[in-house]
Amino acid sequence: MEKSLLKKEALQKLIDGVREKGGRFVAPSILARQVVYREVDCADQMVHDYIVPRNSIKEFLFPQTEPILRFRLMREGVEVEDVRVEPERTVFFGVRPCDAASCGAVRKVFTWDYIDQFYTRREDSSVMMTIACTSSDDECFCTTVGVSPEGKEGADLLLKETVDGDYLVEAVTDRGRAFVEEFKDVFTEPDGAELKAVATPEPIEGVNIDNIIGFLKDRSHYNSEIWAELARKCVGCGACTFTCPTCRCFDMVDEGTYIEGERRKNWDSCQFDSFTLHASGHNPRDTQFKRWRNRFMCKFNFYPVKFSARGCVGCGRCIRVCPVRLDITEVMIEVSEAARDV
């Protein structure tokens, strides 16, 4: 059965089924007046009318803070205890296609020269139930960066809302097929259900991704005056990077007493002035526009070129949360134009 139907009345049964087997069920829900992905135990906690949740799903696969080892000073020396991640199965319901597409991008860096099991074990034990978008806002720009609002990238199951509020389910991966098989009493036969229209944001006029990449690759543009002009207003907070589904930089800190403590892996942001601060006091990115340039370079040059992976999925979170409204799509237009003028 490649396609099946998930009735909205059956959602509670699915949640119960997942939880009874020791898993967690993550879905869009309201927290502090915002729609967020979070663990739910009841279908009533879920919301179905949302565009893009405030957080991305990365915090469930790559937590904002997690211990990676524990240490204790003993008479004989330092005792180090390894931390092993044994994640429960996580079912992500209602993931937007942009967020699902980000997983493949994040995975690249965590499986590059070293397999980071803190990430891979969590992702490997997850089931991604993507729901195609039926609404979008001014900030959505997935189509501009080649992501589709009904895309299957990163999805195990692709769901499409029916006009009755049920979901037509298409299995994309073997994991998705196995999941439907495992909970076959929850899924039913599709009965020619009528689907809601998919909301496809118009690609942003004036943006040419190839031109942007070309411009960024040309090192003579690294010190171009446009960077200061475009990013002068950046205040250097980490809101864009922390809500971004593909930003994955982290920092290691030791916390505890002098006798015992933990080494923790914490999210870090290239927008912070201490991000590349050297022990000598020198900082190669000594002003804010250079830090913002780095973020843009990372999204459209460094990361896609080095890892053949997406740097940006067009979810628009960085635009929505920016306190000074530094809009990455406006910079994309400006850089596309600058590239044309070269």
Binding site: A32, V235, V253, E255, W267, Q288, F289, R325
Partner: protein, 297 residues
């Protein structure tokens, strides 16, 4: 008002009196405003002022922005509430009065957050500071633009923040602890609250000092509590309740409750109101033999 504003900005740039005018402009779709840095007289046309102009631009006057200082003497478009922060910067020796040309704008209030705007400024979408505003006529400025505003703030401050403060004051210590721990648990340590604050101008924030580590930087409950408490303490007697930190917070932590509580405590203890007089130092950085000692019981 915009005509007047642009005119004044153009004159300032043409005469060379300033090198940059820091103000508000439209974003590309003209649905949101965003800070702009006008350096050429002909670009003064980009300046706008409307209820979407929520940012407190005084942050760009601080030493955190050496690149902006290099553009020359600055003129700044400032609402009365923004001017309060400039006044504190002057009181704390961060700015001299002549360092900045203040274009005060008469303001009828702004929206709490830009995304609430639907074409009309209604009381429900205005922040508490606007409902109690006593500086709609800019109080410190080199020039003032806009039509005079007829507004008298209520004698007793009104708004959700004040209701919430009364509610929290009535809680038991355990309930209060839980209230704040619930909110702080969402903190993602993005430091947007600090970065948008023009009074958070330390070159090195205490959270970045790690020898010794005063504040755990991890976003776990202890680290989040430590961060939010220490920031509150560092702003006591200085915060003007401009609300930028709460507006910038991506996870909706009600920082305005903390800020206003600090304002009330400081007013009660020292009879000090921050942001009105550049010659009065914030009470927590001065020693005064007349200070009350009624907290010693």
């Amino acid at each position: 008002m915009e005509k007047e504003l642009r005119e004044r900005a153009r004159e300032l740039l043409e005469s060379g009196e300033v090198g940059v005018v820091i103000g508000y402009g439209w974003n590309r779709r003209k649905r949101r405003t965003t800070p702009v840095f006008i350096r050429k007289p002909e670009e003064a046309e980009r300046l706008v002022f409307n209820p979407l102009c929520v940012n407190n631009l005084s942050v760009y006057l601080t030493r955190k922005y050496p690149d902006i200082q290099k553009l020359g003497r600055a003129a700044i478009v400032a609402k009365g509430c923004d001017i309060k922060n400039i006044v504190v910067l002057m009181a704390e020796g961060q700015l001299k009065r002549d360092d900045v040309y203040i274009i005060g704008v008469r303001c009828n209030g702004v929206v709490y957050r830009q995304e609430l705007w639907q074409g009309e400024l209604r009381p429900e979408i205005m922040p508490v500071k606007c409902h109690n505003c006593d500086v709609r006529e800019p109080h410190v400025a080199d020039t003032v633009v806009g039509e005079p505003v007829l507004f008298t703030p209520p004698e007793e401050p009104v708004g959700m923040v004040f209701d919430k403060i009364r509610e929290i004051d009535a809680m038991s210590p355990e309930e209060r602890w839980q209230f704040w721990m619930d909110h702080f648990s969402r903190c993602i340590k993005c430091y947007a609250c600090r970065q948008v604050c023009s009074l958070c101008y330390c070159e090195r924030c205490i959270t970045e000092k790690n020898m010794p580590q005063w504040i755990e930087t991890s976003a776990h409950p202890r680290g989040n509590l430590a961060w939010n408490l220490i920031r509150a303490m560092h702003l006591a007697g200085r915060c003007t309740f401009c609300g930028e930190c709460e507006r910038a917070c991506p996870v909706n932590i009600p920082l305005n409750i903390i800020n206003q509580k600090l304002v009330l405590v400081v007013k009660d203890a020292f009879e000090h109101r921050s942001g009105y007089d550049p010659d009065t130092h914030p009470p927590l950085i001065v020693y005064d033999t007349e200070d009350k000692e009624d907290f010693i019981k």
